[in-house]
Symmetry: C2
Subunit: 231 residues, 2 copies
């Protein structure tokens, strides 16, 4: 019965934490030096090689961890938001469009709130993610792109499962989910950097999501139904 149950990877943890810290506060991952990270971790430069083949290897390890740390939790957040708004009372759009629109906007509101709470708890992961998504390392870029695709897939599925929108075109729904995912990640930077603007940022995110989904629905022939709901 040891005090720590993760003894075997202590150094690895320290290195990952050090890299995250340095990335968030100063520079991009590819601009860090091995010795710098080791120094920050309080380890011998050499120890790096006990855990990672090279720098991209460390980057991938971080992304792997980040994905695990973010994907399921974010999925859970959206479910939680949906449950808190209405428990299984979904009706078809044609039956009651107004109820569904209001419910949809409320789920959006709650999800956005929970998302940004989550951002606040894991700022470094988001900073690194956004930075490397458009960064210089193709390895990191591809890994993060596929992570964003997975997120978009989740969002699209949730929109359907939760019946937040009338049944609409599949492919373009995914496009919209991609935009939502991407913009939420980018907005998370503002959220981290401008604490005094946080409530405005939440509202901006909600408006964006609502504009996008409503516009999408209108273009798919649900204009009249929505007009009625909004009147």
């Amino acid at each position: 019965m040891g005090v720590s149950n993760k003894v075997s990877a202590k150094g690895k943890r320290l290195l990952i934490e050090a890299a995250l810290k340095l990335t968030a506060t100063t520079r991009s991952l590819s601009a860090l030096s091995l010795r710098e990270v080791a120094r920050e971790a309080g380890l011998n430069p050499n120890t790096f090689y006990r855990h990672f083949k090279n720098f991209d290897d460390l980057g991938l390890a971080i992304i792997r961890e980040m994905t695990q740390e973010l994907r399921q939790p974010l999925r859970d957040l959206r479910r939680e938001a949906a449950d808190s708004v209405s428990k299984g009372t979904a009706v078809s759009w044609q039956q009651n469009p107004k109820l569904n629109l209001l419910r949809s906007m409320e789920v959006t509101r709650v999800t956005v709130k929970l998302f940004f709470d989550y951002v606040e708890d894991h700022p470094n992961a988001f900073i690194l993610g956004v930075r490397e998504l458009h960064g210089a390392s193709p390895v990191m870029r591809n890994a993060l792109r596929s992570m964003m695709n997975d997120f978009a897939q989740d969002i699209a599925e949730d929109i359907q499962i939760l019946n937040l929108l009338p049944e609409v075109n599949q492919a373009t729904l995914l496009d919209i989910a991609e935009v939502i995912g991407r913009e939420m990640f980018l907005l998370s930077m503002d959220y981290i950097e401008q604490p005094e603007q946080r409530s405005q940022i939440c509202e901006k995110a909600q408006r964006l999501i609502t504009s996008l989904t409503v516009g999408h629905a209108v273009l798919n022939g649900y204009g009249p139904v929505l007009s009625e709901a909004l009147s």
Copy 2:
């Protein structure tokens, strides 16, 4: 009557071109070395200091040039698109919503096309811009952010001047213009990297812009008008 009329800044030009080339094909600006850039430019490392104080100074020079090279041309593109679709035939939304919606979508189509043609002609500028917008240097980030804000301002103004949307809430219109500007820049990366997907990317951009603007209009009370136009 000299052969070149820009003799005085020849080295500066070479250094800027070298940095652009290296950034686009390999790494982020902050990860480049001074000697590397000088080598690519075919100059003595030392010559760098004849033109720039430090690396951020070079970065800012590039952004300044890029902004000049992009902003007005992009503005002109949108005007050109509007003119090619209808010359001063604008009528109010209430008068003829269907005509205006179609005209609006046509302007979008043409503008998107012209934008991506422009991207194709200046890939390095876009790659560097997107990379550094979320990069590690605060100096570059702020400069690019303010450039993006200017673009968003232009887009919002054009939407109004060209009467592409009914008169709607100013502040949220700017939010939407920001999203459009940002997403167009991000899509430009896909456009550059995936030549075989170009027509799909154009369509995706059009759908995004239309969804956003239509959704925005609906939420501002123009639902019935738009429903009528779409029927």
